[in-house]
Amino acid sequence: MAGTQAIDYTALAPALVVAVTALGVLVLDLFLPAGRKVVAAWAGTGGLVVALATLLPLVGDTRRTFCVPATNVDPVSCSYVVDHLTLVFQVLVLAGAVVVMLLSLDTLRDSRIPAGEYSFLLLSSVAGAVTLAASRDILTLVVALEVVSLPAFALVALRRFDSRSSEAALKLFLVSVVSTAVMLFGLSLVYGTTGAVHLDRIASALARSDGRLPATVLGVTLSLAGFGFKVAAVPFHFWAPDTYSGAPVPVAAYLSVVSKAAGFVGLAVLLTRGFGPYADVWAPAVAVIAALTMTVGNLAALRQRSAVRLLAWSSIAQSGYMLVPLGSAAHGAGSVDAVLPATVAYVLAYAVMNLGAFSVVTLVGRHRPRNAIEDYRGLGRTEPLTAFALAFALACLAGLPPGLLGLFAKVVVFQAPVEQGVGWLAVVMAVNVVIGLYYYLAWAAALYARPAEGARPPSYRISWSDGLAIGITLGAAVWLSVLPRMVLEALR
């Protein structure tokens, strides 16, 4: 072992496969004739499926790699750890990316977006998300977070001929780099006061120190900013509606599901594995952010007329629900581990139901570029299958039967503040769930309403890639509504 370090390539395989496929797709694109560029996107989808398969040997045991030796106070610490939490999020990120790629295939064929570059950027971002789930030191966390974000800016800006697209990218970019800088400054303060970069060593240093150093408190609070941006929590939410509506719809789906899940795993890992002993400092802050996020998201969603903007504001509100368990983790280190499964369960359920909604919105948006809510009026008569898929996804997001998946996930999240004794947060959440019912149900009702005088609801042939994407998400939502234990006990 002297001098060299053994690297566990089996543990790294999912991230490596995605990254190598990204490069391969970019090179492959050079050799494809102009009319057949979509083949590059197919190759990218294939790479994601292979990466999903490489997760199989990792199930069961915890694998660690890139370790530093033990010191006289700390045991061996590792930068890259594949444990149960990591695996759950890697499956979510890779499966979500497969659905986004399937949705992108027709968009790439119909629009002037270069398919090779699009697949390369998407896969690069996914490689970052896969790494983020496994990173256990602050440097790996920051670099992985940037690997998720940087290709996403370019993905949003890829429609160069559309000035709305570059404006969306500018807003995403500026908010992102500012929040990264704030987070880095916070992490530098944490490093300065603890002298550690590995999260478990930061945790043990924080637990050893008695009292609360103001510099550490400031550092912990500022560190929330970077992930607050990624999950579109208030006050870092302004980019979301504009960016979603300016970007191609599959990219909006990617940002709202895969990139947001990456933000949540980073936040969860940082708060629970690193800053656990400071839970009494960050939990009240997260609770206030959660309350503001769901209230602002829901109130703004009430007055949206465009489908994508409504989903953007609703995904901000859903982020608020996901933050609720973390916000109620104020009572000692044990309660931090007690609330984590609720957040993970909600992120999983949210990914399924939001991808379901986005896959139908992508399909309708291809035939009705304006993609307003009134374009969906009467869809149930012309396209009963897709209308049902959308209505089911909306029922899940609202948390009403038959969308039991959303209902169960909301109950699990709701239990956390009740059990931890943060009653006001539970009340705010309950009020918000009721507000949310209105706009989800109004949209679902419009699907089955009589079409307006003279208006023709969209009618189309569903290509098989779109059909597969809608089928996967609808199937997963129905299946998990019947057997919610898969999601609710994902961490147990």
């Binding site: 940087l150 990218a169 500018l170 780099v177 704030v182 530098s188 300065g192």
Partner: protein
């Protein structure tokens, strides 16, 4: 010299950078202020590495530089695209997407 002074300098640079982000209207100047914030972070990391007697902080500073360089590449490309279509790099002009 007391290394604490460098921490204070980095906090000052960071504050100047964040004030610039909030107050300036030109996208390129906003972007320069973000770079100032990142460099303040680097100074803090290197100073803390010296105070702690470990190398980790200096390694992080190198990675932050790489990340900042990658951000410049994409950021300037986006700003140039905006400028081409709008003939202005003001963030106030970016108002096609609202409500």
């Amino acid at each position: 010299m007391n290394p604490m002074n460098y921490v204070l300098l980095s906090a000052l640079l960071f504050s100047i950078g964040s004030a610039g982000v909030l107050l300036r209207r030109n996208a390129i100047v906003v972007f320069m202020c973000v770079e100032l914030m990142l460099n303040a972070t680097n100074l803090a990391f290197v100073t803390f590495a010296r105070m702690q007697g470990t190398l980790d902080g200096q390694v992080i500073a190198f990675f932050v530089m790489v990340v900042a360089a990658a951000e410049v590449v994409i950021g300037l490309a986006i700003i140039v695209t905006i400028f081409r279509s709008r003939r202005s790099a003001s963030v106030d002009g970016a108002n096609l997407l609202k409500y």
